[in-house]
């Protein structure tokens, strides 16, 4: 009796269909993706190839594109340069004050961008900042870059503003990268006679290639989008410190919305090319 009762219960039991679950999940996901695509489509509809061509012919915009490409690349390289050691130290070692350091590293991420710009500007008004500014001016003159007359309101300010924020994101990425790499092979390397330096350079670093590419891409993209700190710390002087985000702002402020949108489309294209390139590199070489 009991057995037959159980059997009928099992027969009556049905697993609910998965359709409602997937409908809800896909609907929520699709709404956000639709927003992103709709924005890009609207941008594309608002401007035309003729407008983009006209914008590209503008020497101001050409300068701005070049400065963006160069400054973003330099700041991304610098970001990875500091992110690798910080990420490694934070991931592998315990030390007093680590929680404090961790918090400090997050400041550029949580601080409003304008505040970072103002802070940089104030920093370079202190006596030490001024001395650094003058020293950098002399170095640039000595190196033959006569047009760069210091840091504040010059091209180095653009890079420093981008770097300050981008490096924080790159650092987070590298920290996660090293957290995910098993430390035991490095321990074995040390028992085999390697110091910390060799264990890092020959065992840990080669494994972090994918993370480094990700950190570079993220830093590059953040740098391309940086606006607030550049506006305050580097100014928006055409043919001098104008990058693409400032171009959008400058075009927009003089009422040239078509131009602003055309520059935006150029930025979208650049960002996508860089994303694709780095993905290709990391898939090609990252496979262990």
């Amino acid at each position: 009796m009991k057995t037959s009762n159980r059997n009928t219960k099992q027969e009556a039991f049905k697993v609910k269909g998965d359709l409602p679950f997937f409908t809800v999940m896909v609907a929520i996901a699709a709404s956000y993706i639709a927003l992103i695509v709709a924005m890009l489509v609207a941008d594309a509809g608002f401007t035309s190839f003729a407008e983009i061509r006209k914008t590209l012919a503008d020497p101001n915009i050409r300068f701005s594109i070049w400065l963006s490409l160069i400054s973003c690349t330099i700041s991304a390289i610098l970001s990875v340069w500091v992110a690798v050691p910080i990420g490694y130290l934070m991931s592998r070692f315990r030390f007093r004050g680590k929680a404090l350091i961790d918090t400090i590293l997050d400041i550029p991420i949580v601080l409003p961008p304008l505040v970072i710009g103002i802070s940089l500007l104030v920093l370079f008004q202190t006596s030490a900042g001024r001395a650094l500014d003058r020293g950098f001016h002399d170095l640039m003159q000595w190196l033959g870059f006569y047009s760069i007359r210091g840091i504040t309101y010059e091209i180095p300010a653009v890079i420093l503003a981008q770097f300050t924020v981008a490096a924080a994101f790159a650092t987070r990425t590298m920290r996660v990268t090293f957290d995910q790499i098993d430390p035991r092979p490095e321990h074995v390397a040390r028992t085999l006679g390697a110091g910390h330096a060799k264990a890092f350079s020959r065992v840990a670093l080669p494994q972090s290639f994918r993370g480094m590419t990700a950190a570079f891409t993220l830093a590059w993209a953040r740098s391309l989008g940086e606006f607030g700190p550049i506006l305050i710390f580097a100014g928006t002087t055409r043919m001098k410190t104008e990058v693409l985000s400032t171009s959008v702002y400058l075009e927009f402020s003089i009422g040239n919305i078509e131009g602003a949108v055309a520059v935006s489309m150029i930025m979208v294209a650049l960002a996508m090319v860089v994303l694709l390139l780095t993905r290709l590199i990391s898939f090609g070489k990252g496979a262990v």
Binding site: P185, H187, A189, T191, L192, G193, A194, R202, V203, V288
Partner: protein
């Protein structure tokens, strides 16, 4: 000969207090004890990867308590091998030899010798990805033995292997112990491994080590 005296260390989850033991020269010593009792921590302390709170470790009469892992010259095979993921196997075995600046010919001879002993000659140009558990352990052994250490520490090297592979590895470990003339300290919780391999036995229970020689139990 390893002489550990009054080892005290704090590990998350437990504390080892005043642990002392000897591992005599040329022996195959098996260190047993329940899971999570600190066996691995003791191995890590001997090879210098874990800081000890107090106590001394002597290797062949020399105090190595404060020496760096590299200075101790101890071969270490951790659980599941911990191979270097980006390096070809031949590079892994040559790693310690390159650091010691062995001549290219000597390196080559030593690698061939170990490849033959461990039966991994056909794998040398590969990277670790896709190796079986037994193959990983054999490469890890080759990497640890390459620079001819006098002491070899093995941390549960057979625990992740299937029955057949384990049997073959036990035979291999016996051969290595004889051919390389190395003093071995092998951590395990398997009685079978201990019975088949041990010449000396250490048992860690509640932070106390009991020392026995096989046949004198």
């Amino acid at each position: 000969m390893i002489e550990a005296r009054g080892l005290t260390m704090k590990v998350p989850g437990f504390t080892l207090d005043q642990v002392s033991f000897d591992v005599s020269d040329g022996s195959y010593t098996v260190l047993m004890g329940p899971t999570g009792c600190g066996k691995s921590s003791i191995l890590e302390a001997i090879c210098g990867l874990r800081r000890i709170h107090s106590g001394t470790i002597k290797l062949h009469g020399k105090d190595i308590t404060r020496a760096t892992p590299g200075e101790r010259g101890i071969g270490y095979v951790p659980q599941d091998g911990a191979l270097f993921p980006t390096m070809r196997l031949v590079e892994q075995i040559a790693f310690a030899l390159q650091l010691r600046q062995w001549k290219a010919d000597d390196q080559k001879n030593r690698i061939n010798e170990l490849a033959e002993l461990l039966g991994i000659g056909h794998l040398l140009e590969r990277k670790p990805i896709g190796l079986s558990g037994g193959e990983r352990q054999r490469v890890a052994l080759g990497r640890a033995l390459a620079f001819r250490p006098r002491v070899l520490l093995l941390d549960e090297p057979l625990s992740a292997l299937d029955e057949d592979t384990r049997e073959r590895m036990i035979e291999l470990l016996k051969t290595i112990h004889q051919r390389e003339g190395v003093t071995a300290l092998h951590v395990t919780h398997s009685r079978t491994e201990a019975q088949k391999l041990a010449t000396h036995r250490l048992t860690l229970n509640d932070g106390v080590i009991a020392q026995t020689v096989e046949g004198q139990v």
